[in-house]
Structure formats: structure tokens, C-alpha cells
Point group: C2
Chain length 183, copies 2
DNA sequence: ACACTTCTATAAGCATGTGATGTAAAACGG
DNA sequence: CCGTTTTACATCACATGCTTATAGAAGTGT
């Protein structure tokens, strides 16, 4: 409420100021990582398994943006901890379907609750108006984070990537196949 | 707990839905990590050095939420890469003042620009209304992420107007002294 | 002078990621 | 049907970035 943003059509987010906030956000996020001993990737993977059901390793790797060996190892760790397990696919014996276990589901649920509580706490200090703004912002984030956003060349050339060089999204496509392709 | 039903007929943030968005945000963030080879902590530390000037190692450790040895090592890496350097403090020869170098400053500036550009790109797909909402949200974040600067033990009693009772800051206080871990 | 504290460094270990390779199963081509 | 290629996963060697435990040097108090 302190800052009444100018009306529609006008002024904008000041990128520099925004970047500052972004830094602080990152610092904040780094802190609330894994209250329960799961890495970000591990947690995210578990969530995915919980929501979308069994998945093959390479798909998980793509979804989480890590390499296939990385995902293999992550799954091994999850399996070791009893949160997921491998199940062979009878129709194609190369693939491994990874499933979340009951323990995993429980952990996910617990985490989710804890996080919701925490958020609720934080939101207690926030006015209704601000809350509305947050809801809107989250919607935007959903939009931006949801679809992988078609890469550069597929269509309109007007899309200039400023930081083209080594895209931050460079990791964006770690390419699941390390050895076989590039080279 | 924290049955935060926002009172006066305001728009409500549904914690569960919010948590979902939060997950997606995390996934997004993990991807845009370090386009230029810096870890989150390294980047954050550099920013701090850039903004606040020379700092002693233990202060940096507290500020970044890592242990003192961790910070010592991080500084060694930054030094190795020419982004920061140690400078002895003549008045107290135990301490080491860490300073950012010109190269470090340059990198920070570059990163900041790149990030601003990227943000600008993203914001291109956002309506003015949504932008306003984002600005408001960022303000909230600043408020929430900014002050909690006074963790537990340091100094003045009665200082804790922070989230004393219910420690949502769960992992939040690694504390510079190693011995105090939960576990 | 001596014990105590403070600040940094070093050592050893763990978790998590990468790239290069190995290997079995499936898909293709003749 | 057999050989080659592709696909899907695993394994190995290594790098990073943390952690705890501990050492050691420099201030402080008595």
C-alpha cells in the first residue's frame, strides 16, 4: 500500500529495482530449502511422481532439468530412503518405471502441509489488497513457468534473446543423452 | 493451525494452490541458476561485497547462512577466480577483510544487466495490470525478506520481534558455530 | 604470564551434479 | 533371421559446495 503503482498503460516494473528484489528472493529461498533433508531436485521429483504417477527415468531427467545419470542416482537415493521404487516395464524391458511409495506420498503430503502453514504465517502480515496482488502474480508465474515456452527458432524471428550467448537455459536442455549425440 | 482466514471479504490466497505455484517457481529458479558459473551463494556473496563493501569472513558466513569454513572456502574460490581478494586488517590481525575486485564488480554488473534483460523479456508478455500486481508483490517480498536480519543469539536481549514462537525459520539458523546442529 | 576467547584455516567426509562409457533390449534394414 | 543402430538405463571418475571437527594464531582479562 505504500506504493501506489501508476495506472494502466503507464509505468512499469523498474528492472533494476526488480533485480534487487530478485536477489533477496533468492537469498530467502536458499534458506528454506529442505527442512526435511530432501534436495530441491529430490523434492520436486517426488512431487512429480506423486502428481503424475509412475515415470521413466529419462522423462524425469528432462522434467527436472538434470542429466540422465544424475536422475538415475537420484532415484537410487530415493529408493534407498524408501520414498520411491523401480518397477520394470514388461512391455519394454529397457525402461524402468519409477513409482512413489506410500512413505514418499506421506512425506510429500507432510511437506506440503508444512509449507502451507508457513506460507499462511507469512501471509498473516499481508493486507488483503496485497494478497490479491500476490494471487495475480502467482497466476503470471504459472503462465510463465508452465509451458516450456517454445524455443527461439520456432516461428517469429522477432524474438531477440538478449543474453543469447550461453543461454541460462543452456541447462534448459541438458540433453538426456550425454555420450551418444554431441561430439 | 494458523487458520488464516483473511477477514474482511478480501481475495484469498489458497495456501494449497499457492504451494503448487511455489513448487513450479522453484523448478523455474533452479534452471536459471548461474548462467556464468557462479553458485547461488557465490553470487549472493559477491553482490553483498559489491553493495556493502569489505566484510569479514564470519560476517559473510552469517549473512549467507553458511558455516564459517564454508565461507572461507567460498572466498578462496572467489579469490582463485580473481573476483575477490583477502586483505588483512592491521588493527586486528586475526580477521580477514574480504573485498570485491574490479573483475568481480564487472561480473556483478554484467549479471545484473543480463538478469534485467531477461526479466524485461518475461515482462513483455504481461499486462499492465499484472505488472502492477507484481510490483506490489515484490514490495511484500522485500518486507518479508529484508528485516529478519536478527536471528537468535546475537547480542541484545529483547531484540526478537521476529518469528519467535513458531520457528518457521526451520533450517534458518545454521549459526556460525558448528556444534549447535539439530541432529 | 597464562588461560580464555575470537577469527580464520585445514582436513575429512557426504551429497549432488557432470561427462564419458558400458550394456542390454528394442527397432530397423537388408 | 542377422547385423547395425538407437534407446534407456547404469556405472565410473571426477568436480563442487557444503558440513563437522579441529588446529593455530592473535587479541583480552586477570
Amino acid at each position: 500500500m505504500t506504493e501506489r503503482t501508476p495506472g494502466p498503460g503507464g509505468a512499469d516494473v523498474d528492472p533494476l529495482r526488480t533485480v534487487g528484489s530478485f536477489d533477496r528472493l533468492l537469498r530467502l529461498l536458499r534458506r528454506l530449502t529442505t527442512p526435511d533433508g530432501l534436495s530441491l531436485t529430490a523434492a520436486s521429483t517426488l512431487y512429480l511422481l506423486d502428481e503424475a504417477g509412475a515415470q521413466r527415468i529419462s522423462d524425469l531427467a528432462v522434467a527436472e532439468g538434470v542429466t540422465q545419470p544424475g536422475m538415475t542416482q537420484l532415484i537410487s537415493r530415493l529408493e534407498r530412503d524408501g520414498l520411491a521404487h523401480r518397477r520394470g516395464d514388461p512391455t519394454d524391458r529397457r525402461v524402468v518405471a519409477v513409482e512413489i511409495t506410500d512413505a514418499g506420498r506421506e512425506l510429500v503430503a507432510h511437506r506440503r502441509r508444512a509449507r502451507a502453514d508457513r506460507l499462511a504465517d507469512l501471509l498473516a502480515d499481508v493486507t488483503a489488497e496485497e494478497r490479491a496482488a500476490i494471487v495475480t502474480t502467482l497466476g503470471v508465474l504459472d503462465r510463465l513457468a508452465g509451458p516450456p515456452r517454445a524455443p527461439v527458432d520456432s516461428g517469429s524471428p522477432g524474438n531477440h534473446h538478449t543474453s543469447a550467448g550461453h543461454g541460462p537455459t543452456a541447462g534448459g536442455n541438458p540433453s538426456v543423452t550425454p555420450g551418444s549425440g554431441t561430439r
